[in-house]
């Protein structure tokens, strides 16, 4: 993102494009990725209420996966899932497997 001049930005440091942090992909931070078993999942949404990064994707009341653009791989969801439906796996290994 090119840096703007003082004439191009709002005064006082004001940010009006609120929530634009969504464009910053903290998913790059991961060392471990949560892998979710949808057969074990019962949509209790405990993972959703605990995720520090709001990276559990819910659609129409159903848990449909993780937002890998933002998930930092903290592992809290795997730790807390009452159904043990989430496992943490090494990110680099998963990326290599895809190649």
């Amino acid at each position: 993102m090119a840096l703007k001049s003082w004439k191009e930005i709002l005064i006082g440091g004001m940010i009006t494009d609120v929530g634009n942090s969504i464009n910053y992909k903290t998913g790059d931070w991961r060392s471990y990725r949560p892998i979710w078993d949808d057969k074990k999942c019962n949509n209790c949404k405990v993972c959703w209420v605990y995720c520090p990064d709001g990276s559990i994707t819910i659609k129409d009341g159903v848990m449909i996966g993780m937002d890998l653009d933002h998930c930092k791989g903290c592992g809290i969801c795997a730790q807390e899932c009452p159904q043990k439906a989430i496992k943490m796996m090494e990110e680099t290994k998963l990326r290599e497997a895809v190649k």
Partner: protein, 311 residues
């Protein structure tokens, strides 16, 4: 008041804290903030003190706050939000804007709340502004690299209360700011933890509904400062509550009541064992420190039970 806490409904409402913030993986602060903002709902104006949350949610030109938000300085989020709240009341009273039922909430760390900001909060509480002040308590000045605050527990290692040949860590027991807030005779005060999300969200709803100032002290473990693996954040909250190190209670119009009574009550040593910041206490010569801590926790717990008329 019907407390509808089924996650089905709130999971369909948008997160008021957007992803892409730079808080550490496994940090309990955004966990607590998400839960609290879901419980409050919109419209809400948020203020933050300087600290981990403020710097990681608004690194210019990014902002994670989907609602109006303000930061001014470290110690004064309470005064700043009180100013906004006063302006709101003034404009509505003068008919310059309609009453939209706007809620005001502050998020501040324990450093900002217990130490540098105590005067400001006290003034705000005394004047009776209608707002909720949430202390996100990770028991030290974490954003500046883990320095002790008056919320840091007895015996803990921090960079300004280190353990070494001459010292065993922090020599003072922590201050009880929840009790100090209760003694301001404000309508609602509580202690909470994000592992018990139903409890935290119920407390938030009560707090935001009352006609005056409210204060909630939320324990938020910090995996960097407390030295534990990040995925255990929620477990650590449970441990704090089950050892009575962090009791869950509320004070409604001066009446204390316990919202969780651990059974069994676990020894403080279990709590200390779980974190690297207490590792140095696990030697035979430091056993008396652990005893002191147990005695102190037991005393505070007993005092609380008496206040809650449960003893």
């Amino acid at each position: 008041m019907v407390l509808d806490l089924g996650l089905e409904k709130i999971s369909t409402e948008r997160d008021l804290l957007a992803p892409g913030h730079r808080l550490c993986a496994g940090c309990a602060e955004p966990m607590a903030i998400r839960q609290i903002l879901h419980a409050i709902g919109e419209p809400v104006v948020v203020g933050s003190s300087t600290g981990c949350v403020e710097v990681t949610t608004t690194p210019y030109p990014f902002s994670s706050w989907r609602v109006p938000w303000i930061h001014s300085a470290f110690e004064n989020v309470s005064s700043t939000i009180c100013g906004a709240e006063a302006m709101y009341r003034s404009l509505v009273r003068q008919g310059k804007m309609e009453d939209k039922g706007i809620k005001f909430v502050c998020f501040a760390g324990d450093g900002a709340t217990y130490d540098i900001g105590l005067q400001w909060i006290s003034g705000a509480m005394e004047r009776g502004h209608k707002f909720l002040y949430v202390c996100l308590n990770n028991e030290a000045y974490m954003n500046t690299g883990i320095q002790r605050s008056s919320a840091t527990p007895f015996g803990a290692w921090t960079t300004t209360s280190q353990d070494g040949k001459a010292r065993f860590g922090k020599r003072e027991h922590r201050k009880d700011v929840t009790a100090i807030m209760a003694d301001h005779n404000i309508p609602y005060v509580a202690q909470a933890s994000p592992h018990a999300w139903r409890d935290l969200m119920a407390k938030t709803k009560k707090a935001i509904a009352c006609d005056g100032p409210a204060f909630i002290n939320v324990l938020v473990p910090c995996q960097r400062g407390w030295r534990y693996p990040g995925e255990k954040t929620v477990e650590l909250c449970r441990l704090a509550v089950d050892t009575c190190v962090w009791p869950l209670y509320e004070v409604i119009d001066g009446e204390y009541s316990l919202t969780y009574n651990p059974n069994p009550k676990r020894p403080v040593k279990d709590w200390l064992d779980s974190q690297g910041r207490f590792k140095h206490l696990m030697t035979p010569e430091n056993a008396p420190i652990i005893d002191q801590m147990q005695t102190w926790v037991d005393l505070q717990w007993q005092r609380l039970l008496e206040r809650c008329k449960v003893a």
